[in-house]
Symmetry: C2
Subunit: 332 residues, 2 copies
Amino acid sequence: MHRNLSVRSRKNGESSAPAGKHRFTMSSLRGTQQPDLSKKLFKLIKTENHAISAYETAGRERVAIASQLSDWGESTGDDALSEVSDKLGVLLAEIAEQEDMFAQGLEEYRGVLKQIRNTESSVQPSRDHKAKISDELAKLKYKEPTSTKILTLEQELVRAEAQSLVAEAQLTNVTRQKFREAYQVHLAAFLERSEKQALLAKQAQRLLLLLDDTPVVPGEEHRPFEGNEAARVILNDAEAELKEWTPSWEMVPQEHQGIIEDHRNVVEGKHYEGEDSTVGSHFADAGASSVGGEHVGGQHVGGQQSGAVYSAEDREREQQLEQERERQPVAA
Amino acid sequence: MHRNLSVRSRKNGESSAPAGKHRFTMSSLRGTQQPDLSKKLFKLIKTENHAISAYETAGRERVAIASQLSDWGESTGDDALSEVSDKLGVLLAEIAEQEDMFAQGLEEYRGVLKQIRNTESSVQPSRDHKAKISDELAKLKYKEPTSTKILTLEQELVRAEAQSLVAEAQLTNVTRQKFREAYQVHLAAFLERSEKQALLAKQAQRLLLLLDDTPVVPGEEHRPFEGNEAARVILNDAEAELKEWTPSWEMVPQEHQGIIEDHRNVVEGKHYEGEDSTVGSHFADAGASSVGGEHVGGQHVGGQQSGAVYSAEDREREQQLEQERERQPVAA
């Protein structure tokens, strides 16, 4: 491990060039059209798309290789080689399948990142709006200190500030929660691929041992292959192990899980002047929280809980909650 | 696991189309120029090359993503997110590095496959030669049954048959040995990637837990981040684990290992009429063997020895032996 304590790119502020060769694609152009706030994440999501495509390609090629291997084995006219290469092909095809499932897992994680990016994009206007009014007000106070419009603008600024306060809270809440969720999904995809491919590879190692590679002298034949049954057993074992596989890491729900439900009531009881109803309904859960002393940040330092991943039910439950919230009228 | 008992392509004899979309590359043309015997393996080696490129691309993109993640984290202005994303980036970059090492391992396996392919290519002429002489002889016997050339051709055919016998033995010996070696290297590459990426991913899971994702209310700040030290510890742990990593599978030398040395003497004492000296020297070890009763093929059926991989020293030793053999004059 070439140890770095940071992978942050040295040129601060400038958009970091990818480590690989430069890609001359439309994505760079589109990136510049994004609001400042979401530009970096936009680019990351694009790069991730390239990486996912590469894994999909690899998986596809590996499936082809598995079948080519089996065909080649048959063409050698060597019974043992034919059987072993064919069954090895089955295991390699399954390993390739895992590559594809992995790509799907990365796609899921990419979807979660998009939620952060969308929040970033949607928060930008409220920042801009506040800045604009503040600007107008300053100008007016300088040019027409007695204008009656000053009071109106001041009121508008208070509303804009309140809206911005909510927007920023939404941003930080969504970002932290979705960041954790995204990388939990990401790491789970890596772990699942690792564990499943490892168990398949170990069965494939057993399979290879069925092939007697003791050299023969010219004119001599290899002894007849007697490993057909053993090869079948190995495939059965691999299938059974894959079926019985469960994640080696714990499915710990995220810390805020219980809270989402609680603080919905709080959100509904609160009202921030100027809150934009479209933004508000979208992020109803992020703007407020009933968090008291029950959560101490960063206390899970040790290895006791070495993994926290949303279970499928958790995710489903949260989605239901989100839908419910969207159906409810925003507090007004 | 969608269980197949074979991945052999259905259309027998025809060249199998890859599972993915059709590739319109030079490789198809070149493939047709290969001797029949090595055509299938030639294609497989080509496909493997595409797969390796895909993994290299994925690795490169993943390194870029790691750095983009860290940059994005910094740009959020959130101390906790900045620190966690930066250290997570370090671990993700290391995971990406493993992807690249994996591609190198596949490249090594591809090299071993090429040795089989080259043997296949070099055996083709001896098959063709034998067929040609046999043909000529038959024609001559029909047209000029009393020709004196018949005796010469018959002698030549005996030599060609002997040569062919050696070539076929070389082919089967090299193929079985290198097949096992190739897929041992192949599976070892998968296993190493799996095990190393899994340990890195589990440390990354610990890292994620440092990020407190408890929602805040508008105007409220997240509590200050106190996980810097813990994050450093996690990186140290990951580094230490990676350093201490050893393969979980056994490094069992191949069955024929001891034999290569023994039967060199046998090879030197033997002489096959008509043996082509360039082929002969190249495959000196494959043409003969002193194998007696000490090897029973396929007895490693059970799980006792669930992996047999050349150690680096084994491979080095064999290479040395090969070089020695090439330096020695062929038996004559």
